[in-house]
Subunit: 872 residues, 2 copies
């Protein structure tokens, strides 16, 4: 069979997207379900591919097919090209398989020439309209097909308006436009050394070629590179008969959503304009009417339209965004597509569609983008206020939410501002664990350095606190307490606002709107829970975080970081004494002070968790994180601890590291100072026994040893823990169940996890560190060059955001395979930042993890992603 | 069959070491080849194991067998226990499978009692000798078998000497000793509440039990833990009839090496004493005679002894260290073992043995410990001068050699000292690339921080320069230019000496001896080259290093680090301009200045290498390493570059990183600034074309891209290089062959090396970084906690010294397997520090690397290790 390059709309269907492109397939689909679509045909993507494989010219076979279909079109419509009475005019539009909005070219009103322009004038009774259309066509055709600069035509138009002393195009009359048409044709002749083509078939040929060529224009090529669309797909070309909404009071055009895209309410929502073209609705020069008014104005048309909306919704099984035109009381549907909507609306619509029997629960779950739930969970700025606010800079959208407050540059000032009842924003070059108290008390955090997984970002997300990180456009001068930007200086106490969902920093205070979890949300999440097989836990360090996470549906704690408890101002003294201790005895005495407070921490968290699993990670960060840096602070500390300033300086110097991320931290600390973990495990177990003895629901603590790289270090540390646990059991004459496991975050541990699993009862993947060490990227430094990687298309996304499946994911798979060889029932989870990122959650499901753990505010997101993964 | 627990020396052989222990097996072997060994028998290690499995007592079956063998011994010797005429006396010695010198117990003269002491006096005609032996036996038996403190007996001896007014034990006569024996027996009675056992069989039973028990004494347990010897092996017990060299002028004792252990000369070397026991030779109270004098004194004995030395050498096929005793003109051989020797001797002996037909070349190669070659390649301190020098501190033996010089604390001062003609030692907290010039000009380097793979250690080894690193016992005050230790202060200009092979730092200047490569060395190394299958290249950054390495037999350059060339004082200005450049244009102009000098570098190295392969690594370290840190230096730099001080400070601040090891370095620099690698690759290729056009042996540069973790970044960087290379080819109208490959040093690259190999023509394992990232250990910080790991027995050795086979080695194996899937002929090498460490070289051979690359001074070591690996 000869290659078929052309399909009329009647021959296609929505499943033929690959061949007909998205637009062509949808036009065909609508045609075939009986909707009034202006007839036309589609030239296939295969033709485009052949065009590029050949000498980039159209060939006879293709042109023959086009002519055949054109003939059919003329017959169907009773119109013909170059008719003096009732000319056929068409639009020529690109239509790729994957939508590339605005990337390729369109030509309208093709078919106009010196003859048919008169025919158009006659058939519409509107000479001005006809010549205006002709003028626009010449310009568009010259620009798109012939690459004649538009400005040459614009220039003539401006000149004409000047001569006439008018301001608007619409003030020019038919005669003026006729003159202009002639001038335009002269430009064409001058530029092309030939007359403007009068043969519509010639016009069409050039237009098709232009659309094909636009597939490889630079902006389309870049767009495809960015969106990972193969160059080999090609574009289709849609040739469709023109209809006009601007042919008088019985014509019009509009856009409507079948349901409310803001709330999801099942009520048509849209606007229209009488005697107007599509652009006029968008341009906003005239105020459009609400769609409901059409009911009074053109009741039959309205009813017909409503009927079509039902047909389309039932057919596409989703809320539709429909474009229509009324030409002389005849309704045409020009486009339909799934409508964009807010998250609230998405959930409402999806649950309604299930109830209406249009889709199943699984389909409903797939309809909502997990990340979009953020919109529901955090307060946001009032959109209208936002638009009139001054943007200062843009950083990384590190932790969603909206925050306004007075600028302060250190934790101490935030504490004082909080005591004065002020709302504040903590601004730092970068944060460190010392800033925790300031972070807790501030409304939001802004840092000039660090990436999506910098300290500020990680901690802020854990707290559900708004954070903009790595905002390199600003210069933070902590000493003088000012922020400098290109053109302004913000001092301590000035107001700024942060949008953690966009990364934008605004000057001044902006009003906020609280999110409301609509009624559908609960129902939707209950379906999510039904379908999901992977558990979702939370990272929580305090009873407050834990309670918040439970509200969001967390099923346990996957990561309780004991070090965050160390920063409390009541405890930091003991912690520091422990660190600078010169002898085991001194260190133990400091640890003795910490024991009761840690025990209380765990006790309270256990109580909140009511029997759910709790994974506690033993001390992880390098000790120097707990020690102050500034001379003054060190002096104060030395004084408060009654030790010599110089001794303290020496000890701090000793603790300094070239690469702290690869330094003395995690279980390495426990090899040097076993007494620290012993204190912690004692607190964990004693609290669990307390809970049991007081009759609360029993807790089985999962004790997690961080940064294990070698079976021998795990053995050493585990033996210390077991000794201490057994001591506690003896002392208390009571026991509790517990597990001992390890973070899987060191590459060496991943590839020797068969050995590690001999001692570890569970693995929890620490994908932050696994990514850092696997790639050799410091998460605090990498944003500098990772930006460049993404700009240059080397990476599609940062491996700190979504798990790098081919590399880090492979390490995870290897370690699961090896680990299960040794211990088939080993419990597997993830507690890195990736645990709350939908595509990573999907990956975790696919490799068989038992649970993911993420910050409280991401629990619903992770749950939805897990349910979607189950379905897929 | 009943268990056999006892073997006479006639029943054993050297292959039965597991059962009889090392000493027992050797005594049996000598007995069976006809040497005059005092007869005896061995109680097996199995008996010891059973002893520990049971109730730690001797059992009947065992005791029966002992009695049977004792009876045989009495018959053979015509002596008997408790004889008044000719009593049998025996020694009871431990003898483990793996020698544990001094760890377990020995009892001599067992069998003495109130009767046999008279028999001994009679048979020797020497009452004093008999009672002295009895006295010693009681003390030894009481101490070893009964745990009665030795001091109780020593005390009585001292008192007796006081009473007699004498100073030496030998001044006491037979009567005195008889009295003392009675007093000793009283002590025994007092302590044990029973009489000293008079029954020799009872004595033997207690002695055997004591030896068994000594297997688990604390020092033996610790020794085994340290040396990784299983506790389950147990020890054998050797019961041997006593012979005496102190029975008059016809008796004597001595020790001899069959060849000279210092030079390897094939000439007997040893000493003896007439009328003496073994201890007397060692104690050095009397000056022993040279073994050759025995020829005149006892010609038959001498000839007999020489005959035995030949038998033993031929039998053991190695130089022997022999102990002998002459008892009344009868020669006994008491022990033989392979003699310890210097490296020079080891090589001479091994090559001589091959020529003598005793061993093959392969065996000769296995006889020399690769690391010992260090002794031959570096000058060493005069051993005698060393012993009288004051030790200041001990650090890590980071780079072998010996250095004396005046202490200076920065590179500039070293440069000035060198201009004054002074020898100097560079002392730093830690070195950085800025110190290179000082390192080059100094005699040796001492640092207070950093491990075996710290900057100082790595660079020093590369230069073959003596270095003691991580010497934490000293406090370096760079500002005030002093070193402080516990009890002294060393100022700038004071002399110190470093021993890079031991890590010891001495006060003052110490004389050195130059090593001489003996004639055998060349012959030995030629055999090594014959047998070796893996190539050995060198890490060399300069023509001088390259020439040095060729002298040592390097077969190419495996790692030429281009950054070291950047520190030359003539170039650093351009390098810095390149780094702080604000625009591409400025950066290119700085790079244009660097191009000719880099081209000259490569040209000269190529010329030295005469056609051998040269692997050039493109710029690797983070840019901030090239920028000064101190305010003054920054000011000078800003001035010299005519830029604002504050701008330079800002740029330096921008370059700072939290974890530079995981930061913006390696190929990541080339993603951000492709022009840097383009300049380097242009220099590499232009120099190769110059070499070719000038008629020298052609060089095929192997261009190595560092720190690749992802195929996409490799592709991006490689494309840049290819573009530049093709430009050069066009410009020059000439081509050269080259390869483009990558360092394999990022864990992610290792596990995705099937992808990496699509673009890389070779992999060179960078095991320093692979170890750092695989373990998550910063090599600059890890020594702190790795020491603890080794102290606690968690690690046997630092993974930065020998490749961690189970983890990092596994990563290497995985990447080789994957890489070969894609590119079966991929070239594989290693250029990390491990490339010169023998056990790592063996591992590299076992996993099929084509070559190892190491610093010039380690080339012979790596070659020997590679040959040994081939043989194994």
């Amino acid at each position: 069979m000869e290659n078929k390059y052309v399909y009329s709309f009647k021959e296609g269907k929505k499943e033929m997207k690959d061949l007909l492109g998205g637009k062509g397939a949808n036009l065909a689909e609508m045609t075939n379900i009986g909707l009034p679509v202006p007839p036309g045909f589609t030239i296939t993507t295969s033709a485009c591919i052949e065009f590029y494989e050949g000498n980039k010219d159209l060939w006879e076979n293709l042109l023959d097919q086009v002519k055949t279909y054109l003939k059919k079109l003329e017959e169907e419509l009773g119109k013909s090209f170059s008719s003096e009475e009732n000319p056929l005019l068409v639009s020529v539009r690109s239509g790729a398989v994957i939508s590339m909005p605005g990337m390729m070219d369109t030509i309208l009103n093709l078919g106009l020439n010196d003859i048919s322009v008169e025919g158009l004038a006659k058939s519409t009774g509107n000479e001005r309209f006809a010549y205006d259309s002709y003028r626009r066509f010449i310009q568009m055709f010259s620009d798109v097909a012939m690459e004649i600069p538009k400005v040459r035509f614009d220039h003539l138009l401006e000149k004409m308006k000047e001569e006439k002393g008018v301001e608007l195009d619409t003030e020019l009359d038919g005669k003026d436009l006729k003159v202009l048409v002639n001038k335009y044709k002269e430009v064409y002749l001058e530029e092309m050394k030939e007359e403007f083509p009068q043969d519509p078939m010639k016009q069409l040929e050039l237009a098709i070629k232009a659309v094909f060529k636009s597939w490889s224009n630079p902006r389309a090529v870049i767009y495809r590179k960015l969106h990972n669309i193969p160059d080999s797909l090609g574009t289709a070309v849609n040739v469709q008969s023109m209809v006009y909404g601007n042919m008088g009071e019985t014509s019009g055009t509009g856009v409507a959503f079948t349901r409310n895209p803001a709330t999801g309410e099942n009520k048509i929502f849209g606007e229209y304009l009488i005697n107007a073209q599509g652009e006029d609705v968008v341009a906003g020069i005239r105020t459009p009417n609400h769609i409901s008014e059409l009911k009074d104005m053109m009741p039959e048309i309205y009813d017909e339209f409503i009927k079509y909306t039902h047909i389309l919704e039932e057919h596409y099984k989703d809320m539709q965004d429909i474009e229509f035109t009324i030409e002389n009381k005849k309704l045409y549907i020009l486009q339909t597509r799934n409508g964009k909507r807010t998250t609230q609306a998405a959930i409402k619509i999806a649950t309604d569609l299930v109830k209406e029997g249009l889709i199943g629960k699984e389909e409903a779950i797939l309809r909502v983008n997990p990340n979009d739930l953020n919109q529901l969970l955090h307060p946001n700025f009032d959109q209208k206020k936002l638009e009139s606010s001054q943007v200062i800079a843009k950083g990384l959208a590190a932790s969603p939410g909206a925050a306004s407050g007075k600028v302060y540059f250190n934790a101490q000032d935030i504490v004082e501002a909080s005591q004065r009842g002020e709302k504040s924003i903590l601004v730092r070059l970068e944060t460190s664990p010392e800033d925790i108290e300031g972070m807790v008390l501030s409304e939001g955090i802004l840092t000039a350095r660090g990436g999506m997984t910098s300290h500020a970002a990680v901690v802020a997300r854990g707290m559900g606190k708004c954070c903009v990180a790595g905002c390199s456009e600003i210069r933070v001068d902590e000493e003088n307490k000012i922020i400098r930007t290109q053109d302004l200086t913000i001092k301590e106490g000035d107001y700024i606002s942060l949008d953690g969902s966009t990364g934008i920093v605004y000057l001044g205070e902006i009003e906020k709107v609280q999110p409301s979890l609509s009624g559908s949300f609960g129902e939707f999440m209950s379906w999510v829970d039904e379908i999901r097989t992977m558990k979702v836990r939370t990272n929580a360090d305090t009873p407050k975080d834990a309670a918040q996470a439970l509200e969001f549906g967390a099923e346990g704690i996957g990561l309780c970081r004991t070090e965050h408890m160390f920063f409390d101002s009541e405890r930091i003294g003991s912690v520091r004494r422990m660190i600078v201790a010169n002898s085991l005895r001194e260190r133990k005495s400091a640890l003795d002070e910490l024991l009761p407070v840690q025990r209380k921490d765990f006790y309270e968290i256990y109580k909140v968790m009511e029997g759910r699993p709790v994974t506690v990670r033993l001390l992880d960060p390098p000790l120097h994180e707990f020690i102050p840096n500034k001379e003054e602070d060190i002096k104060n500390l030395a004084e408060s601890m009654s030790i010599e300033y110089q001794d303290l300086v020496d000890r701090i110097e000793e603790l300094k590291e070239f690469n702290p991320m690869l330094g003395h931290r995690g279980c390495r600390l426990a090899v040097t100072y076993p007494e620290i973990y012993r204190m912690q495990v004692r607190a964990i177990i004693e609290a669990a026994i307390d809970i049991k003895e007081e009759g609360f629901e029993e807790i089985y603590p999962e004790i997690m040893i961080p940064l294990v790289g070698h079976i021998e270090e795990l053995k050493y540390v585990k033996n210390q823990l077991l000794e201490e646990i057994n001591l506690v059991f003896e002392e208390r004459g009571n026991k509790v169940n517990y597990m001992i496991g390890t973070m899987l975050e060191v590459p060496r541990a991943a590839i020797t996890s068969d050995e590690i699993a001999t001692e570890a009862e569970f693995f929890s993947f620490g994908t932050n560190d696994l990514t850092q060490m696997g790639f050799g990227y410091s998460r605090d430094d990498a944003s500098k060059f990772l930006d460049e990687y993404m700009n240059k298309g080397i990476f599609k996304e940062s491996p700190f955001e979504a798990i790098d499946r081919k590399g880090i994911g492979k390490l995870m798979e290897i370690s699961i395979e090896l680990g299960k060889k040794t211990r088939p029932d080993i419990k597997l989870g993830i507690c890195g930042e990736h645990g709350g990122e939908p595509s990573s959650v999907e990956f975790c499901h696919s490799i068989g993890l038992d649970y993911v753990s993420c910050s409280p505010f991401r629990v619903p997101i992770a749950k939805l992603a897990a349910a979607q993964a189950s379905i897929k």
